[in-house]
Every structure is written in C-alpha cells, then in structure tokens.
C-alpha cells in the first residue's frame, strides 16, 4: 500500500459554497422568522396593545388630553397613602417569604434527589388549589371564632379571641402563603447549582460551617434571592383578593383602588391612570433594584 500525501492548494476556488447550502440557509432563516412571528404577534395582541391602550386612556378626560388624573393621584393624600401601604405590604411579604423560603430551599437543595422530587411537589401543591379557596380557608382558620382562636383559648394562652383578620396580619398570612412558592423555586434552582465541594473547600481552608455559609454559599445564592424577591414583590404589589377579603380598611392596596374606580365609579380613565402609576413605580423599583444587585444576577448570567 502506498501512502498518499496531497499538496495543499492555496487558491480559494474550492471554498466556493455549494448552492444547495445557500438554499438550506434560506429555508432555516424562513423557519426562524416564522417562529418569531408567532411570538411577536402574541405579544403585540395580548400585551403591547392593551398596555398602550391603558396608558393612552390614562391621559384622557372625557375624550380630551389631560394630566389631571396624575395630578389628582399625587395631590390627594389618600392615594399616596394607599401606594405607600401597597409598597410596605409588598416589602413585608417579600421579607417574610425570604426568611421562610431560604431555609426551606436550602433544605430542599440538600436532601437526596428522590426526596427532592416529593418535597418539590409538596411545595407546588398550593398551586393546585384556587387561591380564592385558600384565602377562604385562612378566613375560617383566623376569624374571631375560628380554629386558631379556639386553640389559643383552650390552651389558655389568651382569654379573648385575638384579632388575626381584617388587619395587616391577615393580609400577610394570606399573601405569604400564596407567594412562598415563587420565592422557594428560584432559590432552589440557584442553590441546586451550587457545588457543595465549594463549601467543603471553604471548611478545609479553615472556615467554620457558619463562615462557609456566609462567605461562600450565601453570596452564591444571591441570584436566587434577587430573582425570588423581585418576583414576589412585583406579584404582591398588584395583589387584590387577599387584601380585599382579609385586610382591614387601612390595608387597602392599589389594586382595590383600581377596582373601586372601575366598578363603583365607572371612572375607567382614572382607573387606568392609577394602573399606569403603579406600573411606573414598579418599573422604577425594579430598575433601582437591578442597579443595586446587578441585572446579570437577576437573570442569572453571573455565576
């Protein structure tokens, strides 16, 4: 057998692309555009158009352009107070969810895989029940003559029923219950990706278990904290049912205000102005939050 060594041709003639390759490329481009068109259409019809309509309507009074709605929101104390309540409740719910969710997610990420599946399903179970049903369930539990008060009194911990509903506590209990999975899941997703050898390495290098957690695990789980917190916060400030059913007068949230304008006053224009205002506030908060924590963290680009 003779061996063959071919001389390399420095000319570029044989690098001419085959016309069939170009046809393939064109077909690929078309199919990509087709897929994209579907998504763009859906977004345009279901998102961009309605939002634009809302923003547009918010600048109208009886069909003519005006900023009066916004002036009213800013000048009337009640509206600003409701906004402040909304943001405070959003912040409180986020904080409680984080405090409850972080250890839970840590535990989930630490158990063997077969347990993980079962436990994750348990975390998701609340999603299977209508959250209206869940809110009513909490009302049964927390009302003056409810289950929890019965227990407290029969244990002698209190002689009078404790007010746990129609106040901030009712709102927080109900909302945290609904929001917890939105905190746990992003946290879990990030934590499961943290190499446990890093914790071992930290300990090997002289870090106590607490130091290893604080210096290595906690910073590495920050993207999860960021994602979970922003998700819970944004969902919370637009919340309606729980504060409406379980909150008191002073726990009125912005969504309730919008509902009242639409249903009782039939003032769609002012309702859209409040909605737009909430949207703007949300965007500003998210922007500031991203600036502090870094967008790449929220979207998980940074490891």
């Amino acid at each position: 057998m003779a061996s063959i060594a071919r001389e390399r041709d420095p000319g570029s003639s044989h690098y001419q692309p085959d016309p069939r390759l170009q046809r393939l490329h064109r077909r690929q481009l078309l199919s990509h555009l087709g897929l994209l068109a579907l998504a763009v259409t859906l977004l345009a019809v279901l998102f961009v158009y309605p939002i634009s309509r809302i923003i547009y309507t918010s600048f109208l009074i009886d069909g003519s352009f005006s900023l009066d709605h916004y002036r009213r929101i800013i000048e009337v104390d009640a509206y600003i107070r409701v906004l402040r309540t909304t943001l405070t409740i959003g912040f409180q719910v986020t904080l409680i969810c984080l405090l409850l969710g972080y250890p839970l997610a840590y535990f989930l990420a630490s158990v063997p895989t077969r347990w993980q599946r079962i436990l994750i399903i348990l975390v998701l179970v609340p999603f299977w029940t209508s959250f209206l049903v869940r809110t009513y369930a909490w009302m049964v539990l927390l009302q003056r003559r409810g289950v929890v008060n019965d227990w407290l009194m029969s244990l002698g911990l209190t002689s009078e029923p404790v007010q746990m509903m129609y106040n901030r506590m009712g709102v927080l209990v109900g909302m945290v219950h609904v929001m917890l999975p939105f905190m746990v899941l992003p946290l879990f997703a990030v934590m499961i990706g943290i190499d446990r050898n890093l914790i071992r390495a930290a300990q090997n290098l002289g870090a106590s278990p607490f130091q290893a957690f604080r210096r290595v695990f906690l910073p590495l789980s920050l993207p999860g904290i960021a994602a979970g917190s922003i998700l819970v916060f944004i969902l919370s400030i637009g919340f309606y049912i729980t504060p409406a059913l379980m909150g008191g007068r002073q726990d009125t949230m912005i969504a309730q205000l919008i509902e009242a304008q639409v249903r009782d006053r039939l003032n769609w224009e002012f309702a859209t102005a409040i909605a737009t205002f909430l949207l703007i506030v949300t965007v500003i908060i998210v922007a500031v939050y991203n600036r502090i924590l870094g967008t790449e963290r929220v979207f998980g680009e940074d490891r």
């Binding site: 190499d195 446990r196 050898n197 890093l198 071992r200 390495a201 930290a202 300990q203 090997n204 290098l205 002289g206 870090a207 106590s208 278990p209 130091q211 290893a212 210096r215 290595v216 910073p219 590495l220 490891r303």
Partner: protein, 394 residues
C-alpha cells in the same frame, strides 16, 4: 527563592534547609457504611515528612474515602489519623489545618484569584500585609503572578488547577491532600502538570497524599504508592517495587500490564519449575520456601518478552494471533500450543521485519523476568464483597 516556605517558624527546618512537612500516620483507618459496607478497611500507612504518597486504585477502592477521612469530610468508624503524633480523626474539617486540592478545583467563582488564595489566611485572621505577601509569593510559586485580579472562570483548566494548589499551600499546612486533581485536563497538560506539581511539592517539601486511578500518574509522581482494592491496601511500596515486584495478581494487572502463568511447583532435575495444567513447564527462580505441588502463579511483563533472536533462558514457540500497532511500540499476541496466550510488547526500532498474523514465532525471556505472585491471602478474599464507595458529590 521561595523564602516564605522556608521562613516558617512553626516547624523545624529539615536537613535540606526546607520547611518540613509533617509526619502523617494512618492507623487502622476504617470506614463502614450501614454497618456492612466496608469502604476502607484498616488502612495503615506511615508517611514520612515531605513524602509524596499516592493512593491508587479503581473507583470504589476506598482511596477517596481514605483521603476524605484525613480531610475530615468522612468520619472514620475507627482508627487514627496522626499528624506529628496528634490524632485529628474526629476533628471538624476547619480545625485540621490540612490543605486540599479538590477534583474540580472548587475555586470560589465569586472571588478573584487573589481573594480565593487569601481566603484561608482571612479565616486565620492574618494581617493585610502578611496576607498580601503570602498570596504574591504563592502565586509566584505556581507561576501565575499576573493573574491575581482574574476570576476563576477567566482561567484555563491548568491555571485553575495551579490556583487551587496555591490556595491549598498558602496557609502552610503540614499536609497536602489532592483528589484526582488532574482528571479534568487533557493528556498533554496532565503530563505537564504532573511534573509541575511534583516540583512544587519538592520545593515546599510538604507531606502529600495524592489520589488517582491513573497508574502512569502514580508512577511518575510518587515516592511511594498504596494500591487499593475494595477498601484494602493491597501493596505499599515505591513505584519500582510495585512495578517490578507486584505481590499479587491485582497489583500486577492494575499497574502496567502482565501475562499470567499459573500452575503447580515441581522440581525437575534439581531446578524448580512451574508446571501448567496442560503439562507445559517453565523454569523458575525465587520459589524458595515453597514445596512441590504448591499452586503457583507468575506475572510476566510484556516488554520483558522478545520475538527477536537474542539469547534467553526460556524459549517457547507459538503462532501470532494479533498484532496491535501503537506507534512507538507494537503489541503482539501469541498463542502457544498449550493454550496459553502471551502478549509481547516491543519497541518499534524500525529494524524489525514485518510479521503476519498466523506466523510462527519464538517468544523468549529470562527466568528473573518472572515474578512469583503471593497466593491470595484469606484476608483480602474477605474484601471481595465490599461495595463501591458512595459517589462523590459533584
């Protein structure tokens, strides 16, 4: 050059003038899982200060379990880990002062190289100036002085490896542990890093326990190697001892390659011989202390066999079954008429005539090339049932 390692006031300077590593003794170190799965069985190794010991074995042999018991991530069921005579077997990992390089480096991704390397010093509350000096010095030692401000992900695999090593050395631990540190690198880089690690180890004279399943790596780097199987140390010795004088079939097979011939010992006209079942008999040496009729097995390295026309003490004729070409060497499998198969490994010197499958050849070797293997001890037979060590968390 690396004065930092020599100016270590905590330990005596050895005769070479270098800071000495510590003496590390593993005494009957045992780990039993679920009351029946033996992951490590009475592992006893006395490691000299500054010695490079490799735990070599297939997966599930207990080598990583043993290492983890030294590091403190696995608590032994019984036994002792003595560093300079002090038992650390039941201490939490962060109080052991033992450096470790992990399999996938385990560099902290959110810290720069300098922060990674400074981490153990921070945990020990070193002053800023001392920390800076130590970090710079150790980065010079691993030849990456200009990479302090990079993040681990910006480094190549080999560079990450060096940083992991630097981080494990910077706090001057008396003992360094390495868990398959080169497994993720490609072959060329791996060979380069083997020598580099070896040089740094000699430079710092740190007592090192190295875990690998790569026998080539073990032979290249180690002062001594402990070959492990099923949680048991089958043989402990220098690379030459292990290769030239393997005690049993497992070692002879795991380190390098071997032909095995088994039969019974017979004495024929005053010379001891191995007689196979098929009646073939081969002259032997070193069978003193055994008596006629004893079962006996020998290992014979393929490169000690020759197909050329040299003078040799043993000659046997057979037919070529297969020729496998490796570039620098060629392996030839020869079937002997008695059913025995021998693999011959020869250098390609460019002078050999080409051979064909089915051709008749004569295989030659000397009596001393045959190593008599120890009969399997009842003890090691008991270890056949041990199950693989639990998978390491990735």
């Amino acid at each position: 050059m690396f004065s930092f390692f020599r100016s270590n006031g905590d330990r005596d300077l050895g005769p070479s003038g270098k800071a000495g590593g510590a003496r590390l003794q593993l005494i009957d170190l045992t780990k039993v899982y679920d009351e029946s799965v033996i992951a490590a069985d009475k592992v006893s190794i006395d490691i000299e200060p500054g010695e490079f010991i490799t735990l070599l074995g297939p997966s599930g042999s207990g080598k990583t379990t043993t290492l983890m018991m030294i590091a403190g991530f696995v608590i032994p069921t019984s036994g002792e880990v003595l560093v300079e005579g002090e038992d650390i077997a039941f201490r939490p990992p962060h109080k052991r002062n033992v450096g470790m390089v992990f399999q996938n480096y385990a560099l902290f991704p959110h810290m720069t190289v300098a922060e990674n390397v400074a981490f153990p010093l921070k945990m020990r509350s070193w002053s800023r100036a001392d920390t800076e000096n130590a970090v710079n010095e150790v980065l010079r030692l691993v030849r990456l002085p200009d990479h302090a401000d990079r993040y681990p992900r910006q480094l190549s695999g080999g560079q990450q490896q060096r940083i992991a090593l630097a981080r494990a050395l910077v706090f001057r631990p008396p003992v360094l542990l390495m868990d398959e540190p080169l497994g993720a690198l490609d072959k060329k880089l791996r060979e380069e890093m083997q020598l580099e690690i070896k040089h740094i180890q000699q430079e710092t004279n740190i007592t090192t326990v190295y875990v690998t399943h790569d026998q080539g790596e073990a032979l290249t780097m180690s002062d001594r190697i402990a070959v492990m199987q099923d949680g048991w140390v089958e043989q402990l010795g220098s690379p030459t001892e292990l290769y030239e004088r393997p005690v049993n079939k497992f070692v002879a097979d795991f380190i390098g390659e071997s032909n095995f011939i088994s039969g019974t010992l017979t004495t024929d006209e005053g010379t001891p011989k191995l007689k196979t079942e098929s009646g073939w008999s081969v002259p032997l040496a070193g069978a003193e202390g055994r008596s006629d009729g004893d079962p006996i097995e020998v290992a014979l390295r393929p490169e000690r066999l020759s197909l050329g026309d040299r003078n040799a003490e043993v000659e046997v004729t057979g037919t070529i079954d297969e020729i496998i070409y490796f570039g620098e060497t060629t392996k030839t499998r020869v079937n002997l008429p008695n059913g025995q198969q021998l693999v011959v490994k020869e250098q390609n010197l460019g002078t050999d005539r080409e051979m064909q499958r089915g051709e008749e050849v004569t295989v030659r070797w000397n009596i001393n090339d045959m190593v008599i293997l120890r009969d399997d001890l009842p003890e090691s037979a008991a270890h056949q049932e041990a199950e693989p060590e639990p998978a390491k968390t990735a």
